[in-house]
Amino acid sequence: MSSVKAGLKIEVKRGTFTFRVKRYDPKTGDYRWSEYKVEVTNRQTVLDALLKIKSTQDATLAVRYSCRMGICGSCAMVINGVPRLACETKPFELGTDVITVEPLSNLKPIKDLVVDMDEFFEKHKSVKPWLIRRDEGEQFEKLDSYYVQTEEQLINYLEFAYCIKCGACYSACPMVFLNKNYLGPQALAAAYRWSADNRDEGYVLRLKVIDSDNGVWSCHYSGTCSKVCPKGVDPALAINLLKKSLLTGKPPAR
């Protein structure tokens, strides 16, 4: 099929890459490395390559994915040492002939590149990431008016609302490695996202969780979470804004 717009030429390059995949075997409980050589174009992603490997070379390779367009957050994995979305990373843009693919660190492996996200989601849930109103009757039963929000109020939290819960930040965070119970960048950013929402009244309820030994205080603003986030959410900023709120006693700007 030719391009619709006249004069727009799509250049397709082809190249063969070696994929070194770190695989967890649930039967033995050990890791092993598998190597695959696969030809991809400059318009294909690491996920495309992994699926090609799965269909043409090794059907036992386990990989989790869903939307293939950076929206669902299922295919986060450590590619060339950095947690990224496999569906948003192109082999041609990595700049290496050998591409290492590993499961997300700081999470328990299930098989090969698939990790157990349970503790990650539990922590997310623990900060009550939903709209909390003082009057539940008004919120759920006789809601007859909209909760008004201005453009400025939206921008207070919009940046943090883009999170797709892929776990890249959680995997990159040194403090999650040190403290197994640390809530992690994702959950704390979600806590800020809802607390900074002018329609929400649940900041006080979330305090108990975020102001604890496993809450915001572990963060040292190394910012690894923000640097690896595929959606440009800035969890480190959210955590430090939460810290500022706790220290000064002023709830997040909303």
Partner: protein, 118 residues
Amino acid sequence: MGMVAKSTLMKWHYITGLILVVVLGIHLAFRWPSYEASIQWSGPHGVYEQLLNIGYMAAIFILLYAATYHAMNGLRTLLLELHQGRYWNTAVDVVIIALGIFIVIVGTVALVGALQVI
């Protein structure tokens, strides 16, 4: 330390941190111009001269208390980051408080005694 909010502990951690920059700065500045001379008993920059300097001694007292709080709270945070458990958490709190009180008492006795004699 379940009864104190972590934010209260950490607020004092930050406040003592700011205090420490000043008083620890003074403590280190008194090594100028020679570390060797500053740890001799006598001499123009010696320990005896330091003990006579009321301003410096006030800084040392503040340093003792601020550093003890800052160090013990920091140590507690680190120990709870390394491991957590019902008995571990209680044991950490007990050890940290006991250690803190011990340092404060030893330091205060030595400093007050030194001030009285001199």
